[in-house]
């Protein structure tokens, strides 16, 4: 048992090694997009923004655009590995720096939305599973269907229409109030107020997904013999539900939350656009309007890399949660 920590570490290292080719695959997909895009690859790497000729020359040399394809691929991988994702002339910033700055805001939004979705979704799923066929169960099924079917960007617009336009309770745009100069706690609260609507819009679909999954998983767990055994020991129902039911039901839920991370990122791109939230999604939208392709490519690369890392973390979390996982 003393070796438990060690085996977990070895397992983590193994999974990390498996993630490496995946990252390489993401880079290759990016490269293929550049290589196959119609027109001059310089234009693809540069976007439709005027750039100084020296920079164009440097790009040609750095990415070996005169060289045969395999050399270009090698050079591209090498550049990406060094963190060189090109330069955005629209923002006058290196792409890597630009994307990282925006990712912070996106993560704030996503973390809030996922927390909200997990809390509400698990709660709803457990409540529905406790009384299958009840009104609450039917309501949770309805919420799930709505969540699967309503586009999150439209839900975002509806929330703006209701809470910002009609009721005027919450701000509809941005991450902080432009007219006020808040500091300290007031500034944090201001960001919090701006966060509510986008987080709600982004969380709905995942809450629906988590609720549906939790319900099914919980029904399965609560029909197991060890639940009967726990009740036979006189444990309070709340403890039976959480320690024995949910603790087992949570395993598939955690996996699905993790593997849907890529979709949450995509959803946040759309929701950010509605709310003018200065994250990666908004950057993506602006980059498309400005035909700022280096930024588009950088976003695809970094977002995919983030997903790889998150999936890795989820696998590790699963290994910690489920003692039966063999490393």
């Amino acid at each position: 048992m003393a070796s438990g920590g060690l085996t977990l570490r070895r397992y983590a290292a193994g999974r990390l090694l498996q993630a490496a080719p995946l990252l390489l695959g993401v880079v290759v997909v990016n490269f293929l997009l550049i290589a196959l895009a119609p027109g001059d690859p310089v234009a693809t790497l540069l976007g439709e923004y005027p750039a100084p000729p020296e920079y164009v020359a440097r790009l040609r040399q750095e990415f070996g655009l005169d060289q045969p394809i395999p050399v270009r691929l090698a050079l591209y991988v090498w550049n990406v590995a060094r963190g060189n994702l090109g330069f955005s002339f629209a923002y006058r910033l290196p792409v890597a720096q630009l994307v990282v700055e925006r990712l912070v805001n996106t993560f704030l939004l996503m973390a809030t939305a996922l927390t909200l979705a997990a809390a509400l979704g698990v709660g709803l799923g457990v409540a529905a599973a406790r009384r299958p066929g009840s009104g609450l169960d039917a309501a949770s099924t309805g919420v799930s269907l709505a969540g699967y079917s309503i586009p999150d960007f439209w839900l975002a617009q509806l929330l703006v229409l209701l809470f910002a336009v009609a009721l005027g309770w919450l701000p509809a745009q941005g991450i902080r109030s432009v007219r006020e100069e808040y500091t300290g706690l007031a500034a944090a609260l201001d960001v919090g107020r701006h966060l509510i609507l986008p987080a709600l819009a982004l969380s709905f679909r995942y809450m629906a997904l988590i609720a549906r999954l939790t319900r099914a998983s919980m029904l399965e767990a609560m029909s197991q013999d060890f639940i009967l055994a726990a009740r036979a020991r006189g444990l309070p129902e709340r403890l039976v539900l959480v320690q024995h039911g949910l603790r087992n039901a949570a395993l598939p839920v955690v996996t699905v939350i993790g593997y849907n991370f890529a979709f949450v990122l995509a959803g946040s791109a759309l929701v950010e656009t509605v709310f003018g939230w200065p994250g990666v999604g908004r950057l993506l939208y602006d980059a498309i309007l400005q035909r700022d392709t280096p930024v588009l490519l950088g976003i695809l690369l970094m977002v995919s890399a983030t997903v790889v890392v998150v999936n890795l973390l989820v696998d590790l979390l699963y290994a910690v949660l489920d003692p039966r996982v063999r490393y």
Partner: protein, 285 residues
């Protein structure tokens, strides 16, 4: 549609169970409504959806404009009706592309195993980590987005789910007695794959096809919302993109196209649930 593809053996039994599924029947109803709207749009739409007029930002109920008009005076009701065409065409064609690719790739990987299978698994993993929407966005931005390209992009990006399911079924079935029998009879591999095994995996494929249509409609709308897509098409997503700038003045520019997308997606999702109920009968109600 469901009846025509009623999987392999016992198609009528499949259809009977489908009819017993309430979500399935509701979904089929919505899908038929969507198809009827798409067919009848030219007949029932009060205006040319492209036609601008001086009556801009008219509220719903304005004379001749039951759902109001947009910032250029275009009729919202006509836009919503005509928009069903783009959604349905892109949704169904993209899903068909995805299913075709998924079935072929999944069947080959599941039937032969080995390196083909290993390669497929890696590619599927890759598609799992690259956000589909962002990649589609990039491809359309780089390569342009006519209707055909849109269908191709969405279809190509959506095949892995069908491939995974078909692969799993083929792995399970390739050792089955009747497959061995077909081998002994000297049937060609393609014949075994398509005539012997495939009919038995149709049920889950039909379910995924329906869910793929829902996903494709949603993706097309998302791309439209980002201002990408075929500018000559009337698309609900593009209407919502247009509505974004006028949220404070004209709620109807957002509410009606959004409702249309939701109902279309809901229809195919429900249909998928119903087909799933019919394909995997459960004992508990």
């Amino acid at each position: 549609m469901a009846a025509a593809v009623g999987p392999g053996r016992g198609g009528s039994e499949f259809w009977r169970r489908f009819r017993a599924s309430r979500p399935g029947v509701a979904g089929l109803g919505l899908v038929i409504l969507l198809a009827a709207t798409a067919l009848a749009a030219p007949l029932v739409a009060p205006h040319d959806p492209h036609a601008t007029s001086l009556v801009t930002l008219a509220a719903p109920g304005a004379p001749g404009h039951p759902l109001g008009t947009d910032n250029l005076g275009r009729d919202i009701a006509s836009g919503v009706l005509w928009g069903s065409r783009a959604s349905l065409v892109v949704g169904v064609c993209a899903a068909a592309t995805a299913i075709f690719l998924g079935v072929v790739i999944g069947a080959v990987a599941g039937f032969y195993g080995g390196w083909v299978d290993a390669l497929l698994s890696r590619v599927t993993e890759l598609f799992q980590v690259i956000p589909r929407f962002v990649l589609a966005l990039l491809v359309v931005a780089l390569f342009g987005g006519g209707l055909g390209k849109l269908i191709l992009v969405i279809g190509v990006l959506s095949w892995p789910q069908a491939a995974r399911v078909v692969r799993g079924q083929f792995l399970a079935l390739r050792g089955a007695a009747y497959v061995d029998a077909a081998r002994v009879l000297g049937l060609r591999d393609t014949r075994i794959i398509f005539s012997e095994i495939l009919p038995n995996v149709l049920a889950p494929v039909v379910v995924i096809a329906s869910l793929d249509v829902a996903g494709a409609i949603l993706l097309e709308a998302s791309l439209g919302f980002f201002g990408l897509g075929d500018p000559n098409l009337i698309s609900w997503g593009l209407m919502l993109n247009n509505a974004q700038a006028y949220l404070r003045q004209a709620w109807w520019m957002s509410v009606f196209p959004g409702l249309a997308i939701s109902l279309a997606v809901l229809g195919f999702n429900l249909l998928g649930d119903g087909l799933n109920d019919a394909a995997n009968p459960r004992l508990d109600a």
